[in-house]
Amino acid sequence: MISLRNLKKKYTGNTVLNIEQLHIEKGQCLGVVGNNGAGKTTMLSLMLDIIRANEGEVHSDGKPVAGNEHWKQYTTAYLNERFLIPFLSPMEFLEYVGKLNGKNKSDLEDFLQANSGFYQEDIKSRKYIRELSAGNKDKTGILAALFPNPQVLILDEPFAHLDPTSQSWLKTRLRLLHRQGTTIIVSSHDLKHITEVCNRIVLLEEGVIIKDISATEDTLNQLEEYFKAKGVFAEEFENEK
């Protein structure tokens, strides 16, 4: 479905992303993990043609993403609040996104009914999005990405600002989507969430893919071992144990 070839992104001479080859099959659920600055958001932004690669290309459905608009018809994404229109209320925004994707008001009502486990009353209030809390903003953005029923769904840190109930709701929702054949690409700092949801994990460090593994029961332990705390205090703690 989506393939990255020889992809390189540099900022003022520093290479922040360098991916030789990554092919994401249709229906795959890919989890991207890595520390801050590892290049996760850069990679997702390149898939969405928000930033331009210095070298290489991202292909979606066989055609390059850059310079084309075909992928917009089946791809939705929520990376951060820059994907939200601040002066609309959440309902108006969802309605607007729906209209852009050929859905009407009653579709929206059905959708909200079906997804009512994910949001509280705030989403239905007349507050504008700019007045919402970070968590509710993210919920609005995630709902807007889910509403058009995309074939490809791209989310950046979707769990970060969510409350525990919404986190587990979203995990279930993503698993169901995966079962229905949606291609999902999701990044997260939370190793537990990502291993529960995804069937393939890519580990980035300084822009390079260090590990590319399919998720099994042991994956979480592997990842936790990799991301072990470093430094004086961590050693002290280990020794005490």
Binding site: D49, R52, G67, F87, L88, L100, Y128, E131
Partner: protein, 487 residues
């Protein structure tokens, strides 16, 4: 307290605003200097001016009376340009600084504003030149105290006005009309509030301890302001969302997707403080016709052309200067959503055209002065919709700053870049340039027809022009998006 002021100074000098464009800083600096000089000169030569306009009257009395207009006008001006320093205080609320001290600091800080400097400059030269030498010491001191009290009073009043009026723009409009009425009544000598005003001023200044009265008023207001601020430090604007009405645009809904796109553009203008107020303010500029359409000007084609050009774009000018920058805060939404670039550009174009058209319709009655005006303005609105729109759009793809939708309204140059002065403004004057060339070549009278036809062609071939903007936007979108991301 002093530490706080130092922090605030650092915030001002280290603000990214100053680092952005030296060019803009120089222009702003010159503008500030220009105002300062104006006020000093007016104040210094006030006696000469007053003697020539109101011969035989006592200069001080007339000057004091005229200050009433300034103070009334200042109330409105302050509402627009004086930002209250409340927001920058937030980080301190958690620190071990006393709440009351923070509030006092907020009030004191508000006095360090350019507008207060201007008021001082309007009063001091006159005081030193006229009042100090001519009147007894106590009167002079009292007079000065009263004048300062007015400045302080206005400064403090702004807190209350901002709190109670900012949600109701029509109250400001009423205030504006009231001030205009008072000024009109005074200037045509039908109603003379100023005489009573200056009479009272003189009477109070003549008392032995006259300065105590205005001083007490100022302190009373300061006390009141203190309490307003104390409350607002806790408030969390919950009521705001509750009584919000959503307009249902049933007419637009019948236009399908295009209607929805347009609806969002209209909401962009109506729901964001800075865009809305600036657009509303431009309504006043529609009155410029009364200044320009005078008997002597009607025969000057250049002036007529300029006025027509100006009046038929005025409501669209703010929107058009910042086409894509207005979406800067959520540009990613538009470049990744399922909306074709053509639709996106066409919506921007339609909105611009609509605003031009509204300006044109509102100013069309000027044609009653001379039918020629109707003819010229029709040609100019065609030009603005058909040509200026596209040139603005091209210029806007080079502006990389996101427009701060919620910023202050007046004298706010955020989002204005170097390219602005090179791109947007020259475009406005292009027709005048064309006219000069035509006149030089001896076809001066055909400029209007030429511009009108060009505009019409621009409208007819908008598909082609959209594709040009699309190609440009495709090339520039990464650079624009990267610029918009920077705060």
């Amino acid at each position: 307290m002093i530490e706080l002021l130092i922090h605030q100074w650092k915030e001002k000098t280290r603000s990214p605003f100053w680092q952005k464009s030296i060019f803009l800083n120089i222009i702003l600096g010159l503008l500030g200097l220009y105002f300062i000089l104006n006020f000093v000169i007016i104040s210094f030569f006030a006696d000469k001016i007053i003697e020539s306009v109101y011969p035989g009257k006592e200069v001080t009395v007339v000057f004091s009376g005229l200050l009433l207009y300034y103070f009334l006008f200042e109330i409105i001006l302050r509402f627009f340009i004086q930002q209250l320093p409340v927001v920058s205080i937030q980080p301190y609320l958690l620190l071990a600084v006393k709440r009351s001290q923070l509030i006092r600091y907020t009030i004191i800080k508000s006095f360090f504003h350019f507008i207060n400097l201007l008021a001082f400059l309007l009063i001091l030269p006159f005081f030193f030149k006229i009042i100090l030498p001519a009147y007894p010491g106590t009167f002079a001191i009292n007079w000065l105290f009263i004048a300062f009290s007015f400045i302080a009073f206005n400064n403090l009043l702004n807190f209350s006005i901002k709190k109670y009026f900012s949600q109701k723009p029509w109250l400001i409009a009423i205030l504006l009309i009231l001030v205009a009425g008072v000024a009109y009544g005074g200037l045509t000598e039908r109603l003379s509030i100023t005489e009573g005003f200056s009479g009272l001023w003189m009477a109070v200044a003549s008392l032995q301890l006259g300065f105590i009265i205005p001083l007490m008023l100022v302190f009373a207001l300061a006390f009141f302001t203190f309490h307003i601020l104390k409350d607002s430090f806790y408030s969390d604007n919950l009521s705001k969302a509750r009584n919000r009405k959503t307009l249902e645009w049933s007419l637009l809904d019948s236009f399908g997707l295009q209607g929805d796109l347009l609806k969002t553009e209209i909401r962009l203008i109506l729901r964001n403080k800075r865009v809305r107020n600036q657009t509303l303010m431009f309504f006043f500029f529609l009155l410029y016709g009364f200044i320009f359409y005078t008997d002597t000007n009607l025969d000057k084609q250049f002036v007529m052309l300029f006025t027509g050009l100006f009046l038929t774009i005025i409501l669209a000018s703010n929107y058009g200067q910042y086409f894509f920058n207005l979406d800067g805060q959520f540009f990613e939404f538009y470049i990744t959503s399922n909306i074709s670039m053509e639709d996106y550009i066409r919506t921007k174009y339609l909105m611009f055209g609509l605003l031009c058209f509204v300006s044109y319709i509102i100013t069309l009655p000027y044609a009653l002065i001379d039918p020629k005006i109707g003819f010229i303005n029709t040609a100019m609105v065609l030009w603005n919709i058909g040509i200026t729109s596209w040139l603005f759009m091209f210029a806007c793809t080079y502006n990389k700053t996101a427009f701060d939708l919620e910023g202050s309204t007046f004298m706010n140059y955020q989002g204005t870049g170097f390219t602005h002065f090179l791109g947007v403004l020259p475009v406005l004057f292009l027709p005048l340039f064309i006219h000069l060339i035509f006149r030089w070549a001896g076809f001066g009278e055909y400029t209007i027809v030429f511009l009108g036809i060009m505009g019409l062609l621009g409208i007819v071939f908008h598909h082609f022009l959209i594709s040009l903007v699309k190609a440009q936007l495709k090339k520039r979108k990464f650079i624009m998006a990267a610029g918009f991301r920077k705060k």
